[in-house]
């Protein structure tokens, strides 16, 4: 039976070493003979740390001491220690081995059982896997960043960076719900620049684009945090002013806009003067849904266009 157990240890697919209390080898299995190129005859009776200097490092000696004197089992990982027993004629780089150190008692004598497994192939697969995971992570980040940009583009005007029609509708719906809940008034302002087509025709589209950006900047400066400014397209802008107290508040805002645009726009050495026609509708007086509020502000704006431009009108004055 003893012989059978001995044979079995020889057949085990990992390195098995038994050391006595002086760290001399008393058992060296066949796997190790093949792995290290050192036969039983060469190793039995030899001091293991002398034969394999990697095993004379402090963590290993600590583990041997722990097993002999404190009956402690210790696991030493290839991740931290790399290699304990150098393989013969090794051409693989970065050999990784796990080592398990356990106490063994037999006939009142203390021994140490060492089990060594080679995980080099496993580690290189893990390395590849880690590399792959890193690539996937970075691709995922790129996709996420692109999605964020696309989301922004889908709801913003490319020229001015202002919210577009879709985002404006969404914001207006929210503002209406809020106003309904809090029983507040809000104003929708439709703004169309006067004479913008002439600027485009005389100075070119590039100048027209610059002018639209400059107008957007000036309008932005007039806004509170809760207000919304959007570009509908061409030279049309829409604004939401929530939480206003009276019609007079909306009139003040309209006057401020006209004053802000009255200053000349300077670029390429030219001085351009611009005016705007503004139509205003009020929630809940004129309508209580976004489509009608915008339509009525639009109608009011046309009223201004037809009566000399550079002014503002409330929807009620149309009828």
């Amino acid at each position: 039976m003893f012989k059978l157990a001995y044979l079995a240890l020889d057949k085990v697919n990992q390195g098995i070493i038994i050391l006595d209390k002086d760290l001399k080898i008393v058992f060296w299995n066949a796997w190790l003979e093949q792995y290290t190129g050192k036969s039983q005859e060469e190793t039995i009776g030899q001091k293991l740390p002398k034969l394999f200097p990697d095993l004379s490092r402090k963590p290993c000696l600590d583990a041997f001491q722990g097993a002999l004197f404190h009956r402690q089992s210790r696991f030493l990982s290839g991740a931290l220690h790399h290699c304990f027993i150098a393989p013969v004629g090794e051409i693989r780089k970065d050999v990784r081995q796990n080592l398990l150190v356990e106490p063994l008692d037999y006939d009142d004598e203390k021994y140490i059982l060492l089990q060594i497994s080679d995980l080099t192939g496993h580690y290189s697969r893990v390395k590849q896997l880690k590399h792959m995971l890193k690539e996937i992570d970075s691709e995922y980040e790129q996709v996420r960043a692109a999605a964020k940009i696309n989301r922004f583009k889908a709801f913003h005007d490319a020229l001015t960076g202002l919210p577009n029609r879709y985002l404006f509708y969404d914001r207006l719906d929210n503002a209406i719900s809020m106003a309904q809940r809090n029983k507040e008034m809000l104003a929708v302002v439709f703004l169309d620049l006067d004479g913008f087509k002439e600027v485009n025709d005389s100075y070119g589209h590039e100048a027209g684009d610059l002018l639209l950006q400059a107008v957007a900047d000036r309008l932005r400066e007039l806004l509170r945090e809760s207000d919304t400014l959007a570009r509908l397209g061409g030279d049309e802008f829409l604004l939401i002013f929530p939480q206003i107290k009276s019609e007079a508040d909306a009139a003040t805002i309209a006057k401020k806009i006209l004053t802000a645009l009255a200053h000349p726009f300077m670029f390429w050495g030219w001085e351009l003067y611009l005016t705007a026609s503004i139509g205003i509708s009020l929630y809940p007086k004129d309508a209580n849904d976004s489509r009608n509020l915008i339509n009525k502000a639009d109608l009011a704006m046309y009223q201004v266009k037809n009566s000399g431009k550079n002014d503002y009108h409330f929807y009620h004055s149309v009828t």
Partner: protein
Amino acid sequence: MLNPLQKDVLTELVNVYVGHAASLLSEMVGLRILLSVPRVELIPEAEMEQGNLPLPEIFSPGHIVSSYLSFGQDFRGKAFLVFPVQKAKLLVNACIGEELLLEEGDAVPPRFLDTDFDVLKEISNLILNAVIGEFGNLLETRVVFTVPEVELIDVTESDQRLFLKDGVYILILHTNFTVAEIEVQGVIMIALNLNSVSSLLKKIDFLLEEQDV
């Protein structure tokens, strides 16, 4: 469960034990590693299971990494080293010198590869051996150890599996790791039977009496 004096003695003892483990760990990974146990608690297991006592903060919902070993003979029980999964990954990365790419509040648990588990197995082996071995020395008794097993578990299902039935009392050591300027909190839990707890308390009381003389 522990009076303030017993708590002080136990805290001092375990800090010496983990300090020893920390110096071994530092040598092993070539980094300065500090270990400290600022707080120690002894809780009857039944109370912990019934939820009468607040569980350590570490048991907020989510994944945890737990490694445990059993020890036997006169001083018997099971010892666990438990980390929230993010912290465990931080500790492993610091030890093997890999980049720390974790973001706070990451919803997805970090990916653990079996080589990471090997590192945790070795770290917990060293720490738990040091603590349990020194308890054995303190009680002048022989302790037989197993090598730890490491698991990634969901905390909701962990309660039953963590506190195994042969433990009547749970000794909780709140542990701070400082590795390469990174702070990692973990908990060492030692499930002890009644005999082991009473011999430990008896020894602590003896140490206290000795000091008084």
